[in-house]
């Protein structure tokens, strides 16, 4: 059955225009928050000031457009609440992602000191085994920070022996190793509150961990979650500005799906009429 098809170059062109224009001319479509994002926000809100948390940057530049806005919003929130942060990475490029977040937020919070308010202990290979070893004894896995400074020299790490000394664990994850490893060890084996942020495409495989047992305390899934978090912080940023573009791209895709179905039904009708 022959049906009309659109040259894929037209689809590419329209997607390009649909994504590019809203990034230049912001529409400002309304936004509302979902339960999973509110859970993450509440987790940070309810963490007492002065507590120490661990944030793992388990992604690389490929997933940056979705996960970097989340990272910015989360770290910003922790700074606002005066929560101390240990940055680590199960992906080699994650170290640089954490550094990029800090470079931006240092301008907003010049009073925050490296080693006292936050520290980057860098990347460790080994995935789930690294997390397990970290849970038992943080210092054997990270005797130094990413710059080679012994962790005993950083006030933030002096009281941190294992996961018991951390208020919560958070993984910004683009795959494996990532959020699953933190849930399986951090929450399931050691009972620490665990949360995370993932790309939109991997959200369905992680959502089962958001359950009554709170294996994950909420989940930031995709750019929309980043925008929602910014909305809750009343601080529109990269996530919010990207939402218009995402809305337009989805709308264009839906229009093309409708066109394809109309073409299919017309061709089917013509075929029936021809018999």
């Amino acid at each position: 059955m022959a049906r009309k098809t659109i040259d894929r170059r037209w689809i590419f062109l329209l997607i390009f225009v649909g994504v590019a224009l809203p990034l230049i001319f912001v529409i400002g479509l309304p936004l509302e928050t979902t339960e999973n994002v509110r859970m993450v926000y509440d987790l940070v809100e309810e963490t007492p000031s002065g507590s120490t948390v661990l944030i793992s940057f388990d992604f690389d530049p490929a997933s940056r457009p979705e996960l970097y806005p989340m990272a910015l919003a989360l770290v910003d929130h922790c700074f606002q609440k005066d929560i101390k942060m240990i940055f680590t990475a199960l992906w080699p490029m994650g170290v640089q992602m954490a550094e990029d977040v800090i470079d931006v937020l240092q301008e907003k919070y010049p009073e925050k000191e490296y080693g006292k308010d936050y520290v980057n202990v860098g990347f460790k290979a080994g995935g789930i085994v690294t997390v397990q070893a970290m849970a038992k004894n943080f210092r054997t896995v990270y005797p130094t920070d990413m710059n080679g400074t012994p962790i005993s020299e950083h006030p933030i790490l002096r009281g941190v022996k294992n996961f018991d000394n951390l208020a919560f664990l958070f993984s910004l994850s683009a795959g494996s190793p990532g959020i699953k490893e933190w849930v399986q060890i951090g929450h399931d084996a050691y009972g620490r509150p665990t949360s995370g942020g993932v790309t939109g495409v991997s959200a369905p495989s992680i959502l089962p961990y958001v359950n009554e047992q709170q294996q994950l305390t909420g989940l930031l899934a995709g750019l929309k979650s980043a925008a929602e978090y910014e909305y809750l912080l009343e601080n529109p940023g990269l996530g919010t500005s990207g939402m218009d573009a995402q809305s337009m791209a989805h709308l264009i895709i839906i229009i093309f799906i409708i066109i394809a179905n109309i073409n299919y039904w017309r061709a089917k009708k013509a075929e029936k009429g021809g018999k």
């Binding site: 997607i15 994504v19 690389d60 940056r64 550094e99 290979a125 369905p204 959502l207 929309k224 895709i253």
Partner: protein, 231 residues
């Protein structure tokens, strides 16, 4: 003995790790922690092994002028340049063998490694990922056709989730009265993701989990030996 010794080691290590999960006391806890440390050290060496393998594969490709061999030249050149500038001038806060390269930083604005990372590598990776948007749009146009009952379900769910996950979805159904709140697009998308999708995913995860237990037991008991190489 070449094959028996690895099988014995695998069996003993596997059993000790399993037992230590149920009896995390001396000596099992200690042995298990020690094994974890060994794993971390071996993981570090695995990275070196991966790099050596990358060199070997690409050098052979260039040597025998296999299809697309010029890409191998670019791969190796990129690898050598990134490692080279990293070793010579270090990264952001770390100095390299040739110091901090202040004269280079004065020209480039940052250290060569950081400059290449931010201005080349980061954008190349972002470009590769961004291309997905175009291919997904084209694939959706071809694949989401309402041919059967199942494809109808897929089509409707896809459209609801796509719209519900954008600000446009909130905007389109924001006029709905409170009594029809369950038909609000973000709520519908949340419902689909929370119940049918999660239920399906749980089934897959349970199946995969059982599969992992099965294959782990096969390896520990020496039934599955393909990891030893050979036939």
């Amino acid at each position: 003995m070449n094959r028996k010794l690895p099988l014995i080691i695998t069996f003993l290590v596997g059993i000790i790790v399993i037992v230590s999960e149920f009896i995390p006391h001396y000596p099992f806890g200690l042995i298990s922690s020690e094994l974890e440390n060994w794993f971390l050290i071996i993981s570090g060496f695995a990275i070196i092994l991966g790099q050596l393998s990358l060199f070997k594969v690409n050098i052979l490709k260039i040597k025998y002028k296999k299809p697309n061999w010029p890409y191998s030249v670019i791969t190796l050149a990129s690898f050598i340049i990134m490692v080279g500038v990293g070793i010579l001038w270090g990264t952001q806060d770390n100095s390299g063998l040739a110091g901090n390269g202040q004269h280079i930083v004065a020209v480039m604005g940052s250290k060569p490694f950081d400059y290449l990372f931010h201005n080349v590598y980061q954008h190349l990776q972002a470009t590769m990922f961004s291309l997905l948007a175009f291919f997904i749009a084209s694939a959706a146009y071809r694949a989401f056709i309402a041919r059967t009952f199942e494809s109808n379900l897929l089509l409707i769910s896809a459209i609801l989730v796509m719209l519900g996950n954008t600000s446009l979805g909130s905007f389109l159904t924001s006029w709905m009265p409170q009594t029809l709140n369950f038909l609000h697009l973000p709520k519908l998308a949340e419902f689909i993701m929370k119940y049918p999708t999660t239920a399906g995913q749980r089934a897959i995860m349970i199946g995969a989990g059982l599969g992992i237990i099965g294959s782990s037991l096969r390896i520990i008991l020496g039934i599955e030996r393909s990891y030893l190489g050979g036939k």
